[in-house]
Symmetry: C2
Subunit: 141 residues, 2 copies
DNA sequence: TATAGTGACTTGCAATATGCAAGTTGCATG
DNA sequence: CATGCAACTTGCATATTGCAAGTCACTATA
């Protein structure tokens, strides 16, 4: 307890990288990772990016039916956290595609481990033939 | 969409195993896994069990300071889901220890993958020397 | 005997997050 | 001119999280 640094008032300079344990719950890399991807939806968006989806509408169309306001918020957070980049392919009306960065793509092993666990321990789950091998995602930035 | 089974009124017989996609969001094993461990705290409790913690007070004492009502609720859910078993070592007052089942212990690769990701991408995180190798947990039931 | 402490919770309530539905904007298409 | 569409935003209801305090059955100390 005593060893934890004290939180100072005022905002981080924008673009400054977040650091444990000021911005996260502890020094533990697992706890800190969960502060970023520890919710019901974030890793599903990452999954979709691995599956080659890049547009808002494609994420919305996934069978889990993510609420649209949550999708918008998650995409912003992922971009702010540097796991994803947004690329405009058209200005008016603005249309963008989202791509994994190296940082986001490095979550691949987490997804694979979860997939194995789910397949083994939850009846009724399965992965489509074409995704038996997680495709290597297209990485940007 | 049409292929999803219809939800029938009435409860599952108690003890009946949950099955995708009736009890989960989709057939996807990742999505279903996230329905169980997709939150800020559940995997931290599992982590503590891997680190050899077994009692309520030990989980509470972790640096992330889990709120006590959430800890109680998570332990119940993990037990109900068969990831953890509760063993009483004393009747009055009731005192118990929690242990991973094979099912819970199979989340080891998920924790390891998250740990690697956190170490690589979040500044300031580190794992204590003694936990460089995740200890094989004691498994019950 | 009285007082305090401990472990493992439960309860009440405020703050935050999630989820649903509907609305918005700037085109493209019929 | 009327729809439709993609990519969001907004409003509001419900659910989850988080803090603090309380409970209960002992055990230890004075």
């Amino acid at each position: 307890m005593a060893s934890y640094s004290i939180k100072v008032a005022g905002m981080k300079k924008s673009g400054q990288k977040k650091t444990a344990p000021e911005d996260f719950r502890s020094f533990c890399p697992i706890a800190s990772a969960l502060d970023i991807v520890g919710d019901k939806w974030t890793l599903l968006v990452i999954r979709d990016l691995f599956l080659g989806k890049h547009r808002y509408g494609e994420f919305e169309a996934s069978p889990e039916a993510i609420p649209t306001n949550i999708l918008a918020e998650r995409l912003k957070r992922l971009e702010a956290g540097g796991l994803v980049v947004k690329e405009y392919y058209q200005d008016n009306p603005p249309r963008a595609e989202y791509y994994l960065t190296r940082c986001g793509a490095d979550l691949g092993p987490v997804l694979l481990a979860m997939r194995e666990w789910g397949k083994k321990h939850i009846d009724g789950t399965h992965v489509p033939e074409k995704f038996k091998e997680l495709p290597a995602p297209e990485i940007r930035e």
